[in-house]
């Protein structure tokens, strides 16, 4: 069944036990993401050591896809530089939207590829990544407006 391709074990596991979930005080960046279509909300907080993401945590409520995607993302970008994390954002974005995109070297993030068969759910998976990109691209990430998917 195709559903197993969407709700892979990795996704179900990260939805049940999201990693890096909770508050992060103090933080160097705090951004909210909001999907007005479905009401998903998350707050992403980062600590930066120079150019490097030294810690990252998220809070909020959302569907299994959005929760698992945020959980997987925090694992994947912790320790990465801004440029590396933004590069990863581009690759994940392609993975979610482009059938031809390769999933090699993406590790556990490859589990998100099933989402592209469900266009209505792509925003669920990409919300956390857009929120992260907004934080990383900003020069003043403590006072960012909320990111929305619309």
């Amino acid at each position: 069944m195709e559903l197993n391709d969407l709700y892979r074990d990795v996704i179900l596991d990260h939805n049940r036990r999201p990693r890096n979930f909770g508050a992060l005080e103090p933080s160097d960046a705090s951004v909210e993401g909001f999907n007005p279509m479905c009401g998903d909300r998350l707050t992403l907080r980062l600590r930066l050591a120079g150019d490097q993401i030294s810690d990252i945590r998220f809070e909020g409520q959302g569907c299994a896809i959005s929760t698992a995607s945020a959980s997987l993302m925090t694992e994947a970008v912790k320790g990465k530089t801004r440029a590396e994390a933004l590069q990863l954002f581009d690759r994940v974005h392609r993975l979610l939207t482009d059938d031809a995109a390769a999933a090699e070297d993406l590790g556990k993030l490859a589990a998100l590829s099933g989402v592209r068969e469900y266009p209505a759910r792509v925003k669920c998976a990409s919300l956390c990544w857009h929120t992260l990109a907004s934080a990383l691209r900003s020069s003043n990430p403590q006072v960012l407006p909320a990111v929305t998917t619309e």
Partner: protein, 416 residues
């Protein structure tokens, strides 16, 4: 003399014969038979509506109220005949009281801007309830901002019921209008609108009823209700999208200024002065949704041809069955448990986000609505981000509800 036709008719309500009149109900989704349980968002169309629109487009289309040529006269006759059907459908007094609009949303905005705005003073009050659809909240917020009036919100209780006393407690000498739903789209609650309208009338407060969710389920008689305005949409009563009706009492509509200016709503235009047309054209500026209105007229005929008591009894059986079957599922909470409910069930399964549930049910061919249902204050009240909502029409079956319950149980196990 024996009535053979009557004797041959199957006993009870023949849902399968009825379903055959709705072509979309025989399609498959992802290889499974469609179970369409999203009628609260939009109901499906019977052949009668599809054919009426098709016939108009193929044989009779022209602009209305304009030409002397044959097609224009035919189109005008069909459009105005649809209006007559709606007069009878809700028992309005005359065709002056039936304004064709785009839908319920436009109808409410029309009343907000044309009835309320010119008379509201700072400190005046508009009264709504906590369970309104955004379409019956935002237009009032806008007019309050424009005039300095205040929006008052009557509470609901944990069952999702609106109590008459809770509403009358907020009626004051400054209350100018009570605007409330007939049936809640998010919860299914049928509001005690007869008593609410009576209480408002006693105090000289005008009333607008949002009937979007009611007209497909309940018999609506605006004279018996006694409301000043009643708004509804075509597509939720098996008609086309993009057309709906504002009913207004003629005395009020007469006094209201036009809402939009343009063609159709005028009698004479010079650069010095424009003389407005009479009712209902005064409120129908521009070329209307002609085919939509004709389709809506056909939907009225279709509904009038049904045994609506039997249809209602069938819907009640669907609601009862859905409530019973869903209640058996562990971790499932039904949101909205009013004593008087239309046939829809809003619910939440702990550990299963409604959007995941919606995707999983779609895989089984089952269409439900998931989200906040354009009623975010209701979600806030129940402290939920969203719910899943299965909303039924008379063409749904008990078997479809069994499939729904099985799908929900499967989703629950997947995420457990």
């Amino acid at each position: 003399m024996k009535n053979i036709a009557l004797a041959d008719r199957p006993m009870g309500f023949d849902v399968h014969a009825l379903r055959r009149q709705f072509p979309i109900l025989s399609r498959t989704i992802r290889g499974k038979p469609l179970a369409y349980l999203d009628n609260g968002a939009s109901a499906q169309r019977p052949n009668a509506v599809i054919n009426a629109v098709d016939d108009y487009e193929r044989h009779h289309h022209a602009n209305i109220h304009r030409g002397v040529h044959t097609l224009s006269q035919e189109a005008t006759a069909l459009y105005e005949a649809a209006r007559d059907r709606l007069v009878h459908f809700i028992n309005a007094r005359s065709r002056h009281e039936i304004i064709f609009v785009r839908g319920t949303t436009e109808a409410i905005n029309l009343v907000a801007q044309s009835y309320a705005r010119p008379q509201l003073k700072p400190g005046d009050e508009i009264l709504i309830t906590h369970l309104e659809h955004h379409a019956n909240i935002v237009p009032w917020q806008m007019v309050c901002e424009q005039t300095g009036a205040k929006l008052m919100v009557a509470p609901i209780d944990a069952r999702g019921e609106v109590h008459v006393e809770a509403v009358t407690a907020l009626m004051s000498p400054r209350t100018r209008l009570l605007a409330c739903a007939h049936v809640s789209n998010a919860l299914g609650t049928v509001l005690p609108i007869r008593r609410l309208i009576a209480a408002a009338k006693e105090r000289g407060i005008a009333t607008l009823i949002d009937g979007a969710q009611a007209v497909s389920h309940l018999h609506v008689d605006v004279q018996e209700l006694g409301c000043d305005f009643y708004a509804f949409s075509g597509h939720k009563m098996f008609g086309p999208t993009g057309v709906g009706v504002l009913y207004g009492r003629e005395q009020l509509l007469e006094r209201m200024p036009p809402w939009q200016g343009g063609g159709e709503m005028i009698l004479a235009v010079t650069f010095a002065k424009t003389t407005y047309n009479g009712l209902p054209n005064k409120f129908e500026a521009g070329t209307p949704n002609i085919s939509g209105a004709i389709g809506l007229g056909a939907a009225v005929d279709f509904l009038s041809g049904l045994d609506r008591d039997a249809a209602h009894a069938h819907e009640s059986a669907l609601l009862e069955h859905a409530t019973a079957e869903l209640s058996k599922i562990p971790q499932l909470r039904i949101v909205g448990t009013a004593a008087d409910k239309a046939s829809l069930v809003s619910f939440y399964v702990a550990g299963v986000h409604p959007h995941d549930l919606g995707t999983i049910l779609d895989e089984d061919g089952i269409a439900i609505r998931t989200g906040h249902h354009c009623a975010m204050p209701v979600m806030d009240y129940f402290q939920l981000p969203a719910t899943a909502r299965a909303s039924f029409a008379f063409y749904n079956t008990l078997e479809e509800i069994d499939r729904l319950a099985a799908g929900v149980e499967r989703a629950r196990k997947l995420f457990a």
